[in-house]
Symmetry: C2
Subunit: 274 residues, 2 copies
């Protein structure tokens, strides 16, 4: 593993590391914020959205101040495999920067786009081996947009691993919206029966967790009506018996300004439950 | 004036505007954060450093949360004139992104690089005309690195306009360090007697203000020994009778992670005195 950068912040350390991922068959970067003096600290994984790298959350969300106070480690992975050998697409919403936190089965994507395995299997093992202050038995997951989709699906399928879950403006029904349909067709193929394993609305009906999920959604989000449609998840949670708090935040949009406005609530949500 | 972007944040509004500057003879952008319900609100101008635009502070510093609570407006100007007609230099430390908050006298820079006039004369007038919630009789100034140099010099020369002053890692003796010597030679020429009007260490010996100045400086700042040399300003303030609190922050570097770690202290510093 390589240390890419390390900056003191709020008494703790904001680092960026690079390490080889066998699942993605390339080097992956991730941000790690460690509060000063942290020991057996809870861990929050934050998954970013389309076009993002590990940089967006660590530079724009302003999460570190409260994380330092709460004694919480925050891990911010990249959103896809990277490098010259990794295939890409012209669109901002497919290929690099758009891994959708799934395991691709279609060529040429399957050789690298194994983000579900990376986040679920490799990342916790890497944290356990390399971040001695972390207690991976107290790990939660959150994310934004495509990363909110990742957080919800990874939590619902692995509630004992990612014990708490929250999301900002998540893609909750990818099978029913253009972003998800494009990505799933490309990564998983046209057999839609394979899609439901990565669709929060489909999953929650049969795989609700005992955790209470928090979602913040801006009412003025430009993607709300076409790509996000958060009310569908509310209905699905009611059907599946999943406890959900969905907060519609009036006037807020899809940007990191929105995330920064409510990230402290999410940190406390996870800290109180881990 | 043109509205470039507007995002709700912490209950208030983070906007970016563009307006024509006669002094700089080009369009200039600036960030404006206005807390919800602000009326007759104090104003903090934050000047960014080399290579920055109006974006860096508004996306990375995390100042809006406390500003919203304090009811403080924050104005984040760009660091130089911009546009195809504006001359530039290959270096990151001269030309676009490196206006040094002075009025250039040398060709070809003098036609556009009039940042002192822009910040001192045009910006307060623009705020008064366009931000009705602002009370420009309660205006403070702060900045980072080159912007710290701008904040200190503009405050010392205009203490009744910019009534309070603080800085992060400021260039306090530009006449004595490579960044300043390159910029001043290019913008002001080789007659060093013209440089002292833009050198905080020179100014403060004869133009100390009645304000108490706050400076935060990271001990691990990679530019400390060659470009910043903050101890020189401490000595100059003692000679000039200027009240100064210079805090050496152990372990911190020159980045926005450092600014984000202490920006709340600066906001309170200004709010308490305005």
């Amino acid at each position: 593993m390589t240390l890419i950068s390390q900056n003191k912040m709020h008494g703790g350390t904001q680092a960026v590391h690079e390490h080889y991922s066998p699942a993605c068959n390339c080097d992956m970067r991730l941000g790690v914020f460690t509060p000063e003096g942290a020991k057996s600290a809870p861990v929050l994984i934050f998954l970013s959205g389309l076009t993002c790298t590990e940089q967006n959350f660590i530079t724009k969300a302003g999460a570190q101040k409260l994380a330092a106070k709460l004694g919480m480690i925050i891990i911010a992975p990249d959103t896809s495999p990277r490098g010259d050998n990794v295939p890409d697409d012209e669109g901002y919403d497919f290929g690099k920067g758009a891994g959708f936190y799934l395991n691709a089965t279609q060529k040429p994507w399957a050789d690298h786009f194994q983000m579900e395995s990376y986040i679920r299997d490799e990342l916790p093992a890497w944290i356990a081996a390399n971040i001695p202050a972390a207690d991976i038995n107290r790990m939660g997951i959150s994310g934004h947009s495509m990363g909110g989709h990742g957080a919800l699906t990874l939590h619902l399928k692995n509630p004992d691993l990612f014990k708490t879950c929250s999301a900002f403006s998540p893609i909750i029904a990818p099978s029913q919206v253009p972003w998800g349909q494009k990505a799933f067709t490309g990564y998983l193929g046209t057999d839609m029966t394979t899609w439901s394993a990565y669709d929060s609305c489909a999953l929650v009906k049969n795989m609700s967790s005992s955790a209470h999920i928090l979602i913040d959604q801006g009412s003025e989000d430009q993607f709300l009506s076409e790509q996000l449609r958060s009310h569908l998840f509310q209905t699905a949670c009611e059907l599946g018996g999943q406890e959900l708090t969905l907060r519609m935040q009036p006037g807020y949009d899809h940007s990191y300004y929105f995330i920064a406005s409510f990230i402290d609530d999410h940190l406390r949500w996870h800290a109180d439950r881990l």
